[in-house]
Symmetry: C2
Subunit: 474 residues, 2 copies
C-alpha cells in the first residue's frame, strides 16, 4: 500500500479506480473479475516475490548463455521456482541449437603509444588468426559514414565506427544505433577491411564493452568484430581529431556453430471453461555471458513469474489458461520463440506479451489487437492508470510486446499487449559485465508485477477474443 501511495495519493487512486471499474464493466468485463483485478493490483504492490526471484537467479545461477551448463542450471532453477510459486504443468521443452561461444579478446594500441583497450567480441564474430592481427584503424563517425564511403580508406585496415547511442526512455536511441553492431562487419568487409571495431552501443561512460549479436553476409568475408568501451572509443576519436592514425594489435578467439541444447521453461495457471485458449506472458531465461543477466532478463523472468504466481495464489481460477514461457536463446537466435511457435501454432492465443526491458517502471500500455477488442484494451488501460501507466492515443495499437512475443505476434497473428518500461538507464548496463543484481530497481518491481497480474487476469477473463490480428503486424 505504501508503494501505491508513492505513485498516487490513496484518495485519488481510489477515485480513479472507481471510474476505471465502471468503464471496464461497460466494455464487457464482469464486475467480479474487475474487483479481482483490483485485488491483484493491491497485492502486487506489496509483493516482494519478483525481487526474491531475481536475487536468487543472479546469485545461484549467474550468467546463463544459451546452450551452456549454466543455461541447464537456469532451467532447473526456473522449474523449481515456478513450481514452488504454485504454477502447474511445469515443464522444460528441449530444443537443439547451434551456439556461438566467446573465447578471449584483447586489443592493444601500438601507435601512437601502447595502450590496452577494453573490448568484447560481438556475438557470432569469428576470431582472428592465432597470432592476431595488426592494422591501422580507419575512423568513421557512424555507420552512415561507413555506408557512404566510396574511398579505399577501410581496405587493409580495421574499420572503426564511433556510433553514439542516445539516452531515451523508450529505447529508440538504442534502436537507431544498433545497426552499427549488427551490420557493421558486412559494410566493413565490403570495403576490404580486415576487422570491425565499434564504440559500444551503450549510454554509459563505464570502461566496459557491450556485446550483442552481429551478423555476416555470404557475399563478403567474415571479419572479426568487436566493441570497445565508450572511454576507449572517445580516446580513439580524440586521437583521430589530432590526425593520428592509431595502429592496433587485435587477438580474438571464438567458436561458432557448436551443437548444444536449450529449452523453453513453461508453467501455467490452468484455465476453466476456455482452458484451451492461452494468455502467454514471456521473458527469456538466457543471458549474455558477461554479467549476471540481472536486468537482461532476470528482472523480466522475475516479474512475469511473480505476476502469474499472484494470480495462482489469489485462488480464483481464470477462464483461459495463463502460460508463463521462459524462452531459450533469445539473445542469439530466438530459437526458443521459433520452437514455441512451431509447436503451438494451432493453439488459440488470446494474448502474447513479454517483459524484457530491465527493471524500470512501466509507464505505457500499447496493444496490437483486432479492432473490435480495442474497447476491452482501453478499459484495461484505464484500470492501470493509478499505477502511472498511460495509454497515449498516438500509435496505441502499434505496440511491440518484447522480442520473443513480437516474433510470435508477427508469425502467427497472435494479439499482443506491450507494457512499456522506463528504459532511461537500461542501456547503461545491457549486454555488459555491469548487468548485475545491484542495478535492479527493487522498488519498481512490485508495481510492474501488479500491472502484469491485472493484464493477464483480465485478458484471461475477457468476454471475447483479442485476435487474431487482421493483417500481419509490421
Amino acid at each position: 500500500v505504501n508503494r501505491r501511495r508513492a505513485v498516487l495519493g490513496a484518495g485519488a487512486a481510489a477515485a480513479l479506480f472507481g471510474a476505471a471499474l465502471a468503464r471496464a464493466a461497460e466494455a464487457g468485463y464482469a464486475a467480479a473479475d474487475l474487483q479481482h483485478a483490483r485485488r491483484l493490483i493491491d497485492r502486487g504492490l506489496a509483493d516482494g516475490t519478483a525481487w526474491s526471484l531475481v536475487e536468487s537467479l543472479t546469485t545461484e545461477v549467474g550468467a546463463r548463455p544459451a546452450g551452456s551448463e549454466a543455461d541447464t542450471r537456469a532451467a532447473a532453477w526456473a522449474q523449481a521456482a515456478i513450481r514452488r510459486l504454485g504454477l502447474t504443468n511445469v515443464r522444460a521443452e528441449e530444443l537443439p541449437i547451434r551456439v556461438w561461444q566467446r573465447g578471449s579478446a584483447t586489443a592493444r594500441l601500438l601507435q601512437p603509444y601502447a595502450h590496452s583497450l577494453v573490448i568484447a567480441s560481438l556475438g557470432n564474430s569469428v576470431g582472428t588468426a592465432p597470432d592476431g592481427l595488426a592494422a591501422e584503424l580507419a575512423y568513421f563517425p557512424d555507420l552512415a559514414a561507413l555506408r557512404a564511403d566510396t574511398s579505399d580508406r577501410a581496405r587493409g585496415r580495421i574499420a572503426f565506427i564511433d556510433q553514439p547511442t542516445e539516452r531515451t526512455r523508450d529505447g529508440r536511441g538504442y534502436g537507431r544505433a544498433v545497426a552499427a553492431r549488427v551490420e557493421g562487419a558486412i559494410e566493413a568487409a565490403r570495403r576490404g577491411a580486415l576487422g570491425l571495431g565499434i564504440r559500444s552501443i551503450s549510454t554509459a561512460r563505464d570502461r566496459v564493452a557491450h556485446t550483442g549479436a552481429m551478423r555476416y553476409d555470404l557475399s563478403v568475408p567474415r571479419i572479426p568484430a568487436f566493441a570497445v568501451s565508450v572511454p576507449d572509443a572517445e580516446l580513439i576519436a580524440r586521437l583521430h581529431a589530432r590526425g593520428a592514425v592509431p595502429r592496433l594489435q587485435l587477438a580474438m578467439n571464438n567458436h561458432s556453430e557448436v551443437d548444444a541444447t536449450t529449452r523453453n521453461v513453461i508453467g501455467e495457471v490452468a484455465g476453466g471453461e476456455l482452458a484451451q485458449e492461452i494468455v502467454l506472458i514471456g521473458a527469456h531465461l538466457d543471458s549474455w555471458d558477461l554479467g549476471q543477466g540481472a536486468l537482461d532478463n532476470g528482472a523480466g523472468v522475475a516479474i512475469v513469474s511473480a505476476a502469474a504466481a499472484l494470480i495462482a495464489s489469489a485462488g480464483a481460477r481464470p477462464r483461459r489458461t495463463i502460460r508463463v514461457v521462459l524462452f531459450g536463446n533469445e539473445e542469439n537466435g530466438f530459437d526458443g520463440a521459433r520452437a514455441y511457435g512451431d509447436r503451438y501454432r494451432d493453439t488459440a492465443h488470446q494474448l502474447v506479451a513479454e517483459s524484457d526491458f530491465g527493471s524500470g517502471r512501466v509507464w505505457r500500455l500499447r496493444s496490437r489487437v483486432r479492432r473490435d477488442a480495442l474497447p476491452l484494451i482501453d478499459a484495461l488501460a484505464a484500470l492501470l492508470k493509478p499505477l502511472g501507466i498511460a495509454r497515449p492515443a498516438d500509435a496505441a495499437n502499434e505496440g511491440t510486446p518484447g522480442p520473443d512475443a513480437a516474433l510470435l505476434m508477427r508469425r502467427h497473428r497472435w494479439p499482443a499487449i506491450e507494457l512499456t518500461q522506463d528504459g532511461t538507464h537500461y542501456f547503461d548496463v545491457h549486454h555488459t559485465e555491469n548487468d548485475t543484481l545491484d542495478k535492479v530497481d527493487r522498488d519498481a518491481l512490485p508495481a510492474n508485477t501488479a500491472a502484469w497480474a491485472a493484464v493477464l487476469w483480465l485478458a484471461a477473463q475477457a468476454p471475447h477474443a483479442f485476435g487474431p490480428l487482421e493483417a500481419p503486424a509490421a
Copy 2:
C-alpha cells in the same frame, strides 16, 4: 564571469570581495596585491587552460605508472606544456626508483559454479605460482573482523575482506576503508591464509576493480593480494549468506623491485626581492596503470599548472618564487616527494600545497601554519569566500595539503594550505580503469584554478613568513 555568477550572484560577490579586501589589507597584504589577486580570480574563472591540459595529457600520454616508458613521455609532455604556458627554469630532476609492475591477474569461481571475477592485483603484490592457486574463500565482513579472528578459519584459504567504502565529501570514507587494502595481506598471512582478496575500496557499483598500494611485513609470508569489483564482492557475500563456501582459482603474475628512473618536473614563476623563498604548488605526474590518470592526478596537474600560468601571464612579478612541482611516483612510494625534500631541505618554503583529489570543486580552506600567520590565512580565506570556499573554525589549522606536500610538511615543518575539493564522486573511479577523461568535471576546473592562483599569489606577496611550523605536524 558567468562561472562566478554560477557560484554567487554578481552583486553579492562584489560586496563580499569588497569586505574581504578591506580585511586582508588590515592583516597586512598590500592593496595592490589584493587587487591583483582579485584580477587573477576573475581571469581564472574564465580560463580553459586546465581543461586543455588534462585533455592533452590523457589523450597524448595516457596512463603513466612511475618508471614506465609512458612516465618518461609524461615528463617530456609536462616540460613542454608548462614551458609553453610561460613558466621558467623548467627542468626534470631525475631519480632512480625500484618499481612494481603489473602482470596478468585472473580469478574464477570453481564452486558453487563457474564464474569469472573481475579482479586487479594490488600494487606491490607478489604473483601466484605459475600454475595458480585453488582455494576456498574465508569470508570476513571487514578488516576489523579479520583482525579479531582467532579461529583457524583463514588457514589454507584465501581470506576475503568485504570492507565497504562509505561515500563522503571529504574522503573520510576512503580513509576509514583503505587499511583493508594496505594491511589486509599482513593480517591474512598471520592467520595462515594463502592469499588475500578484498572488495574494491570504491564507492561505485561498476564491474571494475580498484588497485592501489598494499604492503607486507617481514614477519609473515608474502601472499598474493587482489581486489574484486563491488558487484563480484556482493555476489561472494550473498553466496556466503547462503552458507556456500566459494572455491576460487587464482592466477597472478607481477614483478617487484624493477630498477627504473622517474623524475620531478619543475617550473617556476621567478620571484623578486624574496626569490629564494619558495611557494610550492604540487601535483603528481604519475598515475596507476589501469585508467588514464584523468582524475588521479591529471586534473591536479592541470589545475596547478594553469594556476601558475595565470600568474605568469598576468605580468606582475611575485615577491617570492612560485614553484610548480609535478612529483614522480606518488602512487607507490612517494619517491619524488622524498627526493625533493632531500634536495631542497635548506631552501626556505613559504608554503607547500597540492591538488590531488580529482576535479571536484574546492569547498574548504584549511591551513597548517605558524600561529602568527593565521590572520594572513584567514584574510586569504575571506577572499575566496565568493567562490563558495569556507574556512570552518573546527580544525582550521589542521589541514593536510595532499600526499606529497603533506610528506614535505611533516618532514620539514614547511607550512601548508589545503584547498579541499569535493570528493563525493572521486572514489567511484579512483585507481580503476574508469579514471578516464570523460569523468573530469570540466565546469569545476576554472574555479579551482582561480582559487589556487589567488592563494599562490598572496602566499608569495605575504608580509611575513607562514612558517616554519612550531612542532612536527601529526
